[in-house]
Each structure stands twice: as structure tokens, then as C-alpha cells.
């Protein structure tokens, strides 16, 4: 059913010339990944590129480093997209959503790029230390797609100072200590803002999966 929704395919060029990013429900991104994995579908790939290319570029440009440059950001877009294509078969829609997967690939490519710029030779790559392309072991990941969508809503409602710190940590690649130094906030405040954001996320997630056996029958625990 999902596949039918999107196979009324749009020519590649039309997608490429679109300024506005195509917004899609998450399941449709997953369906595009499946088409890449199974059919080496270039048109599906170009849709992924149109949406994620600018995100990856912005992520590259945001890195808090002397090695950040527009050339580096473009190289990052290339590296990440090539991995998305080559490793498409490792994407498991039931385990994670597409943006979580692309974010992890972009993080690893950015780490490897930085290592190359700093001329550090290492026996290990970022993919060895932050494994992305393997079977996830824990069964706990089954609910992830659901929680990913909830997290999106909750992140939108966080206070700006918490969102700002999430951005510095996840996008600008600053350690907690660097955030503290650069903002002049005590390390404890940085940690507590992150913790508050995470607690808010967790509380909201717990309320939404209130079907824990033994928990009191709350009025919210209706299934959808």
C-alpha cells in the first residue's frame, strides 16, 4: 500500500529542480530506501538526495572546527549519499527511521573527514567505533519508529535554551565541556538542560506507552 502511494513516479529532473523539500510521512521515506536496496532505483535515490542533501550540507557547515568549509560540506554530502546508496540493504525500516539512519551516517562521515584533515592515521574508522551497518541486537528497538515520531513533536515544544543546547551538542559537534566554556554556563547547567530535555522526552514517551503490565489502569492507556 505504501509503495503504491509513491510509485506514481515523478521524473528525476522535476525532483531535482524543486526548491521546496518534499515533505513525506516517515513510512514513505522507508519505502524509498527499500526501492534503492532492492531495485537500485535512481529516482527514489534522487528524492532522498533532494531532502537530505541540504540537511547534510547544513550539518557539515555547522561543525565547530577550523576545518569547516563549503568544500568540506559538499564532500560530506557526497560521502554520505554514496553510503546511503551502497549500504541501503542495511536499512531496516522496523528498527529505525530514515532520518535517524542518515544522521548516524553523516556523523560518522564527518568524524572520518576530520580525522583525515588532522592527518591522524588510525586502524579504526568511525564505522568501527559507531557501528551503523549491522544487525541491531536488542529487541527493544522495535518501538523506535513510533518513538521517533513522538520525539519530533516533543522536541518542537521544548524551551529555546534546551533546543539551543541540543543543537550545539548534536549538530555543532561540541563536547559538553566546550559548550560550557563557550556559553559561559557552568558544566552542571549544560548537563541539567540536556537532562531536562531528555526527561521531558522520556516522560512523554512513558505516558504514551502506558500499557506496562502491573501499572495502574490509567485513563490514558487506550490503544490506537
Amino acid at each position: 500500500m505504501l509503495l503504491e502511494n509513491i510509485t506514481g513516479s515523478t521524473p528525476v529532473l522535476q525532483w531535482l529542480s524543486m526548491d521546496q523539500k518534499p515533505e513525506k510521512p516517515k513510512d514513505e521515506w522507508a519505502a524509498l530506501m527499500l526501492r534503492i536496496a532492492q531495485h537500485r532505483d535512481e529516482e527514489a535515490f534522487s528524492q532522498i538526495f533532494s531532502h537530505f542533501g541540504p540537511k547534510i550540507k547544513a550539518y557539515g557547515l555547522s561543525l565547530n572546527s577550523m576545518h569547516t568549509s563549503p568544500e568540506m560540506a559538499d564532500e560530506l554530502v557526497q560521502e554520505v549519499m554514496i553510503k546511503v546508496w551502497e549500504k541501503a540493504r542495511y536499512f531496516k525500516p522496523e528498527k529505525a527511521n530514515v532520518s535517524t539512519w542518515v544522521f548516524a551516517i553523516a556523523r560518522n562521515c564527518r568524524i572520518d573527514y576530520l580525522r583525515k584533515m588532522k592527518r591522524i592515521t588510525s586502524p579504526l574508522t568511525a564505522d568501527d567505533l559507531w557501528p551503523v551497518f549491522e544487525e541491531p541486537v536488542p529487541e527493544d528497538l522495535a518501538d523506535l519508529d513510533k518513538s521517533g515520531q513522538q520525539i519530533e513533536k516533543i522536541v518542537d515544544n521544548l524551551p529555546t535554551e534546551q533546543v539551543a543546547i541540543l543543537r550545539e551538542v548534536y549538530i555543532e559537534g561540541k563536547t559538553h565541556a566546550e559548550v560550557a566554556r563557550q556559553t559561559g554556563l557552568p558544566l552542571g547547567t549544560v548537563k541539567s538542560r540536556l537532562r531536562l530535555a531528555m526527561e521531558k522526552l522520556r516522560v512523554n514517551l512513558v505516558i504514551d506507552d502506558a500499557e506496562v503490565p502491573g501499572s495502574s489502569q490509567s485513563t490514558q492507556s487506550t490503544t490506537n
Partner: protein, 222 residues
Amino acid sequence: MNHHHPDSQWLTEYVAGTLSDSQALCVSTHLSYCSDCGAEVAELGAVGSVVFENQPPSAPVDQKLFAQIMQKIEGREMQSQDQSEPVHSPLVTMPPAIRKLMPDGMDNLPWKKLGKRIRIATLDRLDEEREVALHKLMPGGAVANHDHHGQEITVVLCGSFSDQDGVYRAGDFIVRDTGDTHRPTVNNDEECICLSVSDAPVKFTGVLARLLNPLVAYQHKH
């Protein structure tokens, strides 16, 4: 069933990619034993991806890039695909990153005797500031009081040991700071092997180096 986990700062910095390589090695090693932290890392990754999705728009991506990417992909597909690496049998259960750090197997590492019941093998450094090593603790009583300077992260790979603070089993993640001393004792009769990442001694370079380095080495030994 682990009892000693990296705290949320460690996990967040791991997911954000801001840990050094050797610190990341410790966290990823723990993750290969601990599904609770695995679930938390998955959740943190979902948070990161939302922040990633909601970035303010950057300069547009040059559409020529797509053609370049397709060209590179075609070029690469002409070459043969990746071959799988040989697996060194006694280590099959060990995390792949650690296996990769000992291509000739664990027995062929340059183990050094350090006191009666401890053997240490130094692995390749992953970053300048930290030393990566395996510690093998032997059964039969307390291991000689081992002191360290700076921060030391220990992840138990197999076997188990105890000290005054508790019992540590395979997968446990322990952070100790300067000045903490402990006298581990191996539980049961089986060796206990741990991954250890510690702040490397400060190395002086330049003119003064020859004068100062022996002093540092001396301090580090005692």
C-alpha cells in the same frame, strides 16, 4: 544484566560523535554487552535526528552534485565488493573493533608482566592523549595495587573481578579519576580481561624534551 554503565553524558557525547576515538571504543564495547544502554543510545539517536531534520536551511546544494555522486557510484560498482575479514577464533565473541586492534590475535600481543598477577598489552593508540591497553588479571588473590594518573576507563571483556566498591562482570563500564586506588581480585578461577583507556602521560616535545621526559617517566612509574 550489567550493573556499571556509562552515564547519560557519556552516551549523549557518544551519539553526538564528540567523544575521542578511544573513549568511543569503550562505549561501543559496553554497548555490545548491554541492551539497556543500546535502547538509550537508540533514543538519543532519534533525538539527534530530529535536531538534524530541523536545521535552518543551508546554502542550497548544487544539483551538479547529484550527477557527480551517481558517477562515483558507477565507478565504484565496477570494482569488486568488500571481502569479509578473517575471524580469530578465541575472540569471536569480542566486539569487532577490539578484534581489529589485534590482527594477530590476543595471544600474540606483546603481553608484559606487571607484578605477579597482572599482564598488560598496549594496543595502537587511537588518539594522542590516551593509551589503549588490555589488562589480564590472573586468579589467586589481590592484584598488586595499581595506581594511575588522569582518568582511566575500564570495560570488562571477560571474566569478572571485585574491589572494595563492588563486583564487575563482562560488559561493565568503570570510570576512575586520578587518585582512586583499588586492589582488584579476580573472581572464580578464570582470568579476567579488561579493556583499559587511560590519559597518557604528558609528553614534552622540543628542546626541553630530553631533559623533562625522563622525569615524567619516573613520575608515571611511581
